[in-house]
């Protein structure tokens, strides 16, 4: 699972087959006073839409002075349906939205959205990047998912939908009713994008050398703690941990702690300011 080190300039295959445009849903929360802080672009993981961030994090980031945006990847949330979407199409969506923001953005990816961000960083010079409970694929993640939730995971291997359950996504602290509501809103990613996760798709090196923060929970039932460490090491740091939380840190009961940690990091990280 090593980032591909060499730079690729000639991208004939990519240029000759541009990603087909798709209508995208972008939700936002803008602070009332422009404070010169960089915009944040939140990228939800597979199955989630921009709503997952609109629930708590967008408003909270805006209240601390950061213009906050969340995109629904094609086929998710309010974006155009795209059953044949690929990982490349998702990364294209992120780069498109990031480039449309008024200023250079910080990309925040959650779950498999972190992998999408890692790929988008090779096509857009992010000011910084935050990978929240990153799912970078590979057999380890599949094994963990099969153990926890065989019924919801197995169909995905054969191109069916991936169904995550309450136990994988949330801690016990989150009221049942809320958890059920969130799980009910989950959609699914394109099967080609799901299959891509099996192959541990390598991202090209990020352009513009952005600072990267990795955070997650040691009690995450989707991303093992060892994966967190591995991803963080790839970007030359150690993960920031929030024990007792589930995979969906932005929806879980103590959602404020991780977002405050992210914003604190952005305030003191010179490269991301």
């Amino acid at each position: 699972m090593s980032a591909r080190s060499e730079l690729r300039i000639m991208r004939g295959r990519e240029w000759s087959r541009p990603v087909r445009p798709a209508r995208r849903e972008v939700l936002s929360a803008i602070p009332e006073l422009e404070e010169g802080r960089p915009p944040l672009l939140f990228v939800p993981g597979f199955g989630h839409g921009a709503w997952a961030f609109a629930e708590h994090w967008l408003g909270h980031a805006a209240s601390r002075g950061f213009p906050a945006y969340a995109v629904s990847l094609r086929g998710h949330g309010g974006s155009e349906p795209a059953p044949e979407a690929t990982l490349r199409a998702y990364a294209h969506d992120v780069a498109q939205v990031a480039a449309s923001l008024p200023r250079q953005a910080v990309l925040v990816g959650h779950g498999a959205g972190a992998l999408v961000v890692a790929h988008a960083m090779a096509r857009y010079p992010a000011r910084g990047a935050v990978l929240v409970a990153p799912v970078f694929g590979g057999w380890g993640v599949l094994g963990a998912a099969l153990r926890r939730n065989p019924g919801g995971t197995l169909p995905a291997v054969f191109g069916g939908p991936l169904r995550l359950n309450r136990g994988q996504l949330f801690s016990r602290e989150l009221p049942d009713e809320e958890a059920r509501r969130y799980v009910g809103r989950l959609g699914r990613a394109g099967r080609r994008a799901q299959w891509a996760l099996l192959g541990e798709p390598e991202a090209e090196p990020a352009v513009g050398a952005p600072a990267v923060l990795v955070l997650g929970s040691p009690d995450d039932r989707v991303v093992p703690a060892s994966t967190l460490t591995r991803v963080a090491r790839r970007y030359g740091s150690a993960p920031l941990l929030f024990p007792g939380m589930g995979h969906d840190l932005m929806l879980d009961a103590r959602w404020a702690e991780p977002i405050d940690a992210i914003l604190d990091w952005l305030e003191k990280e010179p490269a991301a300011r």
């Binding site: 000759s16 498109q96 480039a99 008024p102 200023r103 857009y124 513009g208």
Partner: protein, 468 residues
């Protein structure tokens, strides 16, 4: 990523300690890099140098960004209907995509708004001194440069600042090239260069002769076919008029799917000729001369409409001009035609009026420097030219990677001098290299490059520079 020299106006009173060769005070700008011009290539120079941690002072003679693509600028060659020749994926900067909602071939006004957004997104304007032109660039001790500027139009005092490096991004489509013809002075009709052609209303109801079969010449001929009472199109040789779409997709995208498969040039030429026969057909049937070269040997012409209007009689193809008479033009085949307006779409020549020609090894002063990768000068490791390439594709991707390479070279000069020295040696050894197949010799084609060959060469240079 910021340095102390970021925002200050170069101020001779406060910082002058050095003195130039002829005794003028020089303000020392430390490690700051000077960028000349805030067009497409200048903007990507600022952005990439900033990204690599360098301070930048950019001088722009106009009051806005966009260079040639800003139609308000007096040096801008664009006309009302200018559209891109290359499709979006080949045109955009590789790290700043054009919006999905734009067409395959955007209009020049969209391109300008793209540059405006690029400048705002990466906060480039605070590094640009608008309304300031560079009048002299001279080498100073320690491989640094003295850059002398003044307000555009010659007002105000001259200021000289000393920079660690200079990027020349003054564009190559602003100094018109006018051919000489016998009797041109006696001609009583109107004569203009394509650079002063702005709007088809200039042609309405007139008899128009368009000279030159570049992309501009073909565009103007097509507009004349719709507006003028009569249109002749004079070309020196036969060309390949490629349609903008083949097989239902932008033609350059189809071409690059072959390039990605590394199909050899001869096979691609054969496929291209075959596709052209199927789509455009036999041009000699319309009275156009047969191309005397294979495709990819001259700058490609992408124009789906030219042949259409020739077929409808709107454009009359004629050979080269022999001489001008007061009220007529004599053609090479002896015919005489009587245009009221003659438009020379005969191209532009690069010019570096602020730089001594010897720096570039261009002793003839013909605006034809000897460079490696069309960007690096032997013996001057801190000087780079951005965008002096004429690719068979979009230019901005190429300028972007040139400037990434230059920024990393400057960084290597500081951190790994032995690498930078090896790079300088390569520049000396390989200056003048070409990055295309065989190309027809002409003052327009000496900096013609194939985008695939060129980008692969830049990629190799980057890998060599950064190798362990």
């Amino acid at each position: 990523m910021s340095t102390s020299t970021d925002h200050g106006r170069p101020d001779p009173e406060a910082t002058s300690s050095a003195v130039s060769g002829d005794g003028r005070p020089v303000s020392d700008r430390g490690d700051t890099v000077c960028v000349i011009g805030a067009g497409a290539s200048g903007l990507t120079a600022i952005k990439n140098l900033r990204e690599h941690g360098f301070g930048v002072d950019c001088y722009e003679r106009e009051t806005g960004i966009g260079g040639a693509w800003n139609w308000r600028h007096d040096r801008s060659p664009v006309y009302a209907s200018t559209h891109l020749i290359s499709s979006k994926p080949f045109t955009q900067f590789p790290d700043f995509p054009m919006p999905d909602s734009w067409p395959d071939y955007p209009h020049h006004s969209q391109l300008l708004s793209y540059f405006e957004r690029y400048a705002d997104h990466f906060d480039l304007r605070s590094h640009i001194w608008f309304g300031t032109e560079v009048i002299r660039v001279e080498p100073a001790e320690g491989e640094r440069w003295d850059v002398t500027t003044r307000s555009t139009g010659g007002y105000g005092p001259e200021r000289t600042s000393r920079y660690a490096a200079v990027v020349i991004a003054n564009g190559h489509n602003w100094s018109p090239k006018l051919p000489r013809y016998e009797g041109l002075e006696q001609f009583r009709g109107e004569i203009m260069h394509a650079s002063s052609y702005k709007d088809p209303a200039q042609l309405r109801g007139k008899r128009v002769l368009v000279v030159g079969a570049g992309n501009t010449g073909c565009d103007i001929a097509v507009e004349a076919a719709q507006q003028a009472s009569r249109c002749w199109h004079s070309t020196r040789r036969g060309y390949w008029y490629a349609p903008k779409y083949v097989l239902g997709r932008p033609a350059d995208q189809v071409n690059d799917s072959l390039l990605a498969l590394r199909v050899p040039l001869r096979v691609r030429q054969w496929l291209y000729h075959w596709t052209m026969r199927l789509t455009v057909g036999d041009l000699t049937r319309f009275g156009l001369p047969k191309p005397d070269h294979r495709v990819y040997e001259t700058h490609p012409i992408a124009n789906s409409q030219l042949v259409y209007y020739v077929g409808h009689g709107g454009i009359g193809p004629v050979p080269d001009i022999a001489r001008f008479h007061p009220y007529a033009v004599e053609l090479a085949d002896g015919r005489e035609i009587d245009p009221e307006v003659v438009i020379f779409a005969t191209g532009y020549l690069p010019r570096f009026e602020f730089l001594d020609a010897s720096v570039f090894g261009d002793s003839a002063g013909a605006g034809r420097p000897t460079l490696w990768l069309n960007a690096f000068t032997p013996g001057h490791p801190t000087l780079a030219v951005a965008g002096l390439v004429q690719p068979d594709s979009g230019l901005f991707t190429l300028s972007h990677w040139q400037m990434v390479l230059f920024a990393r070279l400057l960084r290597a000069r500081r951190d790994r001098p032995e690498r930078a020295a090896a790079f300088a040696q390569r520049v000396r050894d390989r200056a003048g290299e070409r990055y295309s197949g065989q190309v027809k010799e002409s003052s327009r084609h000496w900096f013609e490059v194939g985008h695939a060959d060129y980008l692969r060469a830049v990629e190799r240079a980057l890998v060599d520079l950064e190798a362990k």
